[in-house]
Amino acid sequence: MDMIETKALEFAYPAEEGEKPVLALRGVDTAIEKGSFVVVLGHNGSGKSTFAKSLNAILLPCGGKVYVEGMDTQDEACLLEIRRRVGMVFQNPDNQIVANVVEEDVAFAPENLGVASEEIRRRVDDALAAVDMTAFMTHAPHLLSGGQKQRVAIAGVIAMEPECIVLDEATAMLDPIGRQEVLSAVHKLNREKDITVVLITHHMNEAEEADRVIVMDDGRIALDGTPKEVFTQVEPLRTMGLTVPDTVDLLDRLRKDGLDVPLDALTVDECAAAITAALAKN
């Protein structure tokens, strides 16, 4: 079953007077499987953020269609339901927190949805527990660290009980610790609550544990596959202005030097094991 399906999706931002609008998305055909963890990579201007914002009807297609569990994002009647099912977390943690107290912020979405008070309470408690932020329930958000703020934002989305979370470069402004906090939080949600995750990023290493990696370039899908399949495409990735993980870079060089190592040992452990084995064979 597909969570989201896009068909020949096109989008153009309104152009300045006298200029022709440039397509940010030029025909994206894909389907996001339910329960999967998908990472979308691409350099700035590749269309990855536009793609993300098309998934929950923040941007509506100029051409083609986007379906969320069968609902057309252009169907106004489905708008709230689409946004409830596909939650979104943005880049700047400060600009998506509405309330002055953590629990009030997490409650914001269920309040908008007209959920009964006792049920909101339960959802807020569950959502904060799910991202490990229960201890900060009554804190003021502006005093939290970046990683903590983003986890509050994730909790705010979880409280809608969505099927899918889209993180639009939600780790870009965080330090390595904050990034790690956010990543482990979404991985846990994917694993334990079976929530579909679409993670938009330009950090290659965030894709290591994904089920699927989509690389966007110039408004189209350029590469699509498992992390191992995608990251071994060393040359195409480089021409698209992306780097490959250092592990693949090293293995690629060693292969060119004539050492018999695989290219798809992505993690540090796999890479070290592969090199050790190759050296022993020698």
Binding site: L80, G87, N100, A107, N112, A140, G156
Partner: protein, 268 residues
């Protein structure tokens, strides 16, 4: 540092003052202000000061934090005091110079005025210190609800106020950052005449406004993503419900107002 300004900042806590219904607190502050303007003579002000002191005590908010809240208002307070001191008409003057005349009544007026403003500000701040902005706006929204009948956009106003309060600390921090960055480029905010000083603010204000607009834009999108569609059909995490303590507090407030009014009669 700008960060030290505590203008109405909420201090989380769990005292009785924190737990009172926000509507109760708004009503109490209203009673308090009426009482403050009815107070006359030393006894009246003493009652108000004791009332405030008692409220401060039960709120667990440090007196120091309240006094610090007065800092940005020092100029206004001093100005009002001076105005009253020099321009109160009386029959007998202690000191005269041109239109400036100081009388006993003038000094007394000035003192009362200063005390009144200080009590007013500290009392109001005590409410904002002990009430989270969300609860405060919830309270206001609920109290003003009847106005919806005459098409006053009560929910929208409350929401705007809540968001403004939410972004005050963020924008203060941002101002600090921009100031430091411009100082690093040699900007000078301290010297020069008023005109030069005003001009020196441009490098702070332009980036600040641009950033505020950007934040507003992003926040609006984030709110839409979280299914915000106006006040219709909205529920609340914390439903406001009057408790026993609210009735007690309101009764107490009423008694004090009555006391001040009686004192005024007796004094007259």
């Amino acid at each position: 540092m700008l960060k030290d300004i505590t203008l109405g900042q909420y201090f989380p806590g769990n005292s009785i003052a924190h737990r009172l219904d926000p509507r109760t607190k708004i009503l109490l502050v209203t009673l308090y202000i009426i009482a403050l303007f009815s107070a006359k003579g030393w006894m009246g002000y003493a009652v108000m000061a004791v009332t405030l002191a008692a409220c401060v005590k039960v709120s667990h908010v440090g007196l120091r934090a309240l006094v610090r809240g007065l800092k940005p208002l020092v100029f206004i307070i001093a100005f009002t005091g001076i105005l009253n001191m020099f321009f109160t008409p009386d029959t007998h003057y202690l000191w005269e110079w041109g239109i400036l005349r100081v009388s006993v009544k003038g000094i007394e007026n000035a003192l009362f005025m200063v005390i009144r403003i200080m009590l007013l500000v500290m009392g109001t701040f005590l409410m904002t210190y002990t009430t989270s902005p969300i609860r405060l706006t919830d309270g206001l929204e609920s109290l003003l609800n009847p106005l919806k009948k005459i098409h006053v956009p009560v929910h929208e106003l409350a929401m705007m106020m809540a968001i403004a309060l939410r972004f005050i600390p963020t924008l203060i921090e941002e101002t600090d950052k921009i100031m430091s960055a411009q100082k690093a480029r040699g900007a000078d905010f301290d010297s020069g005449n008023i005109f030069q000083k005003a001009k020196a603010l441009v490098p702070i204000l332009v980036p600040l406004f641009i950033s505020a607009f950007r934040r507003a834009d992003e926040l609006a999108t984030a709110m839409e993503c979280r299914c915000y569609h106006g006040g219709e059909g909205r529920t609340k995490l914390h439903v406001l419900k009057y408790q026993r303590r609210d009735y007690v507090a309101l009764a107490g407030g009423a008694v004090i107002l009555a006391l001040v009014v009686v004192l005024r009669r007796l004094g007259a």
